[in-house]
Symmetry: D2
Subunit: 268 residues, 4 copies
């Protein structure tokens, strides 16, 4: 009866069953980003104290589709790709904390359990969804990356479509967007096992890429539709004004973050 | 910028998007339980200090399939059943803590995200799986509950079959099994966001049904097969000696638990 | 190089890989039926010659959810329930052929491949969908069958919700509905492999249950919503007037049908 | 009551609900091909008269994974990618008919209903499966196409893994393999609706790409494992001797085929 091994439950004598291995986590992926402005009050209402709205353009939102292959050190998951491939769609806003601007994921849907577990560690509020995005391809009817290339992207959860976008590329860009470009300020929170008590875990953490490489970003325009659903609030971030849309291929490493503060989000 | 609402992430101004509502949680379900003995050392190696092996029959294991409909107070989820129905398969052992016998779920697979979230709260080490079990039916080829009725049950994860059982009922029983009959002693644990530090959350909690009702249990025999997989360890709980198998329909309410102790499971 | 075996492709030396075994096919299931009247012209436009609208109540539609366990002779599939369980939702209208009234399934969605294959044989125009319906249960929050019992039923395809209903039972009934109560008049049709030629297969067939047993039907009311989707036309059968809703458990055997005529549906 | 429209069921007044549009069908995809030799008798037993074994290398098998984006003329499906993207794994052998060599798909699994429908038209014996293959990527841990690049590929159906391969690329190649390089000789077959009668449709057809473009093929070696399952026979095509493995990106158009003969495959 020594200690158990494994970065995450289920923890065992060997650690082999852990839902996720310890970081660093490595990612290859294609990002389709749609940036727009919503009512800044709709962003503000998603920012618990001590977070504040971003000083500039506080109503900016990025809705991002990502098609990932991921693995831990060693990369074994890449050769059994049901363990490495997943897709996600997520909404990012910006906020300020102690005078610094952060990005913050307010909604996210993924299609694999290991991605949900990583999100728990990183403070992403993950749910399950069905996510699709057009992939560029050098042959046949799928788009080549270039002026006029069109990509579709859709998100559904609980058998309802929540969002769909069509992105048309225009030209190379110096950036892949600005909303998701800061370190993330996320909460990690779990209610007490005892009803009526404050949360057992309540952390504000900072996290970001330990390293990043990326191809040429392309910029263009998007038609974006958001749909209501009884257990979702993405559509509250209604589209007031389009900003731009981006396509980019990236490689990312995530290797932990930093505790900003603890015990301040309030509530049960 | 007041506090956010919602029992679970994503937390919002209204709380409507929370992946799960606050307890109590209500369940209607069919349980198919296969009990057997494995090498007690294989159970012991899954029990972190201060848990100890059960004093009697320490190698007993229950592998349980459950077909659930669940909801919070109000029951709205029952009328949009993609939000209430889920299936699970889980392995339970017994252990002792401060002289009392507990049940403990060591592996569990479910097929919905809200079930994963509830498991985080309750300390079940949930992964995603594909779970199937034969349902009794009063007409046609499916079994009536009675002597000789046969039920199949299967579990797969990551595109590999992990377990399959065929249960044949023999007679009514005074019990639905003994391995899963105690309060649960579970860990709730999340690594630190900062690499190299001890866990951010590390609780040993006690939890069980706030109320329970159940139909007549039936007992019989099972043929059970467990299969190896690279990221699973269920098959380490190898079948040494069958005990019995049970079928029972139940109604359960879960409404929180109790913190036993904190910060003792060790490791990162 | 003798002949291959197997009722359906893939056909092999042993026949074991056939997607479906030969009939008779046996079914145990729960049916949730919502009957309503639509514009009779919307029904008529789905009836190719020589089919004619039903003489009475030609705008009647039944939208039926079914939760099945099914098998061929021997019943082996019941013990590996991923091979026997499936769910479906389908729209049925009535028509007349040579003076006799028939039922006809105009749209149907299922969630397993073997169900699609059976539909090809039986002339059901099956697509894939995600189908859910509340199941009655004797314990916990799920409904007991009885006055006031409420059942939800939903249908989605291609990540869009197509239909949802809430059925409230009122009382026992002498019938489970009238729209799906006749033999089925279905087309079996496959285009020519050569572009521009008429269909390679073009049959009007009659088919129905070889035997049937059923429990007490219950009748009540339904709230039904249909939703548009780019590649679906179910919502064209718009709800003009509710008729009734039914719940019933049944056992059915299907064992082939009869060719009515061939080569008359027209078109490519 | 004029004729109905639509290339495939369900046929309607507008044709919009047809599960698949009429050809030509356009495809962009990545192919991972593993070629090996099995016992020629195992190939021969899958060839119904009048097909004969290929004169040379009659035990050659190609097991091919493909990751597709597909559409009809207009390409609308590409912008709602749940309607265009699918994956498949299929086993191809060669045969001879009237002195000419053909390729023939003997087993195939896909993950979308529209792909099943196309297979019915083309004579592919499609089932549902879960298919994964590593995708090359210019950044992060996923492989770049080049010497030493490693790709995993897996296939599961009915919650059981059926095949898995790891392919390691070595060098550019003049070919992407030879087993799947001929026109396809396929059967299209549907049993009679009347039990005991011969098939309602029984065609031997020839079909192939109407046009094809492809990138540089790469050749390498594969480790391939096949697994038994109760309702599958892929593993009968056991690996006796590896030939080679290939990676290639392609664009393909399919636009119908030609009837070779009818009514000769025998059986019910």
């Amino acid at each position: 009866m020594t200690g158990l091994r494994g970065y995450f439950p289920p923890r065992t004598a060997t650690g082999a069953a852990s839902l996720i291995p310890s970081p660093p986590w490595h990612y290859s992926g294609d990002l389709l980003t749609v940036e727009y402005r919503t009512d800044p009050a709709r962003v503000r209402e998603l920012l618990p104290e001590p977070l504040e709205p971003a000083a500039e353009d506080p109503g900016a939102v990025a809705l991002i589709w990502a098609d990932w292959q991921s693995c831990a050190a060693g990369g074994r998951e890449l050769l059994d790709p049901v363990l490495s491939q997943y897709k996600e769609a997520f909404a990012v806003v910006r906020c300020a904390y102690r005078g610094r601007t952060y990005s913050r994921c307010v909604y996210i849907w993924v299609d694999k359990d290991f991605a949900i577990a990583r999100g728990l560690q990183q403070g992403y509020p993950k749910k399950f969804g069905s996510i699709h995005q057009t992939r560029p391809h050098p042959y046949g009817p799928a788009p080549r990356i270039g002026p006029g290339a069109r990509f579709g992207a859709t998100l559904a959860a609980a058998d309802r479509r929540l969002a769909q976008a069509v992105v048309t590329l225009r030209e190379p860009s110096g950036t892949g967007g600005f909303v998701n470009g800061h370190p993330m300020a996320h909460h990690r929170r779990l209610p007490s096992i005892e009803n009526g008590k404050g949360p057992a875990l309540d952390e504000l953490i900072e996290s970001g890429a330990a390293s990043f490489e990326g191809g040429q970003p392309w910029v263009g325009d998007a038609e974006l539709e958001l749909f209501d659903a009884p257990t979702e609030e993405l559509a509250r971030l209604e589209v007031r004004e389009p900003i731009a849309a981006y396509y980019r291929q990236v490689g990312v490493v995530w290797d932990g973050g930093r505790l900003l503060e603890s015990g301040t989000s309030g509530g049960q």
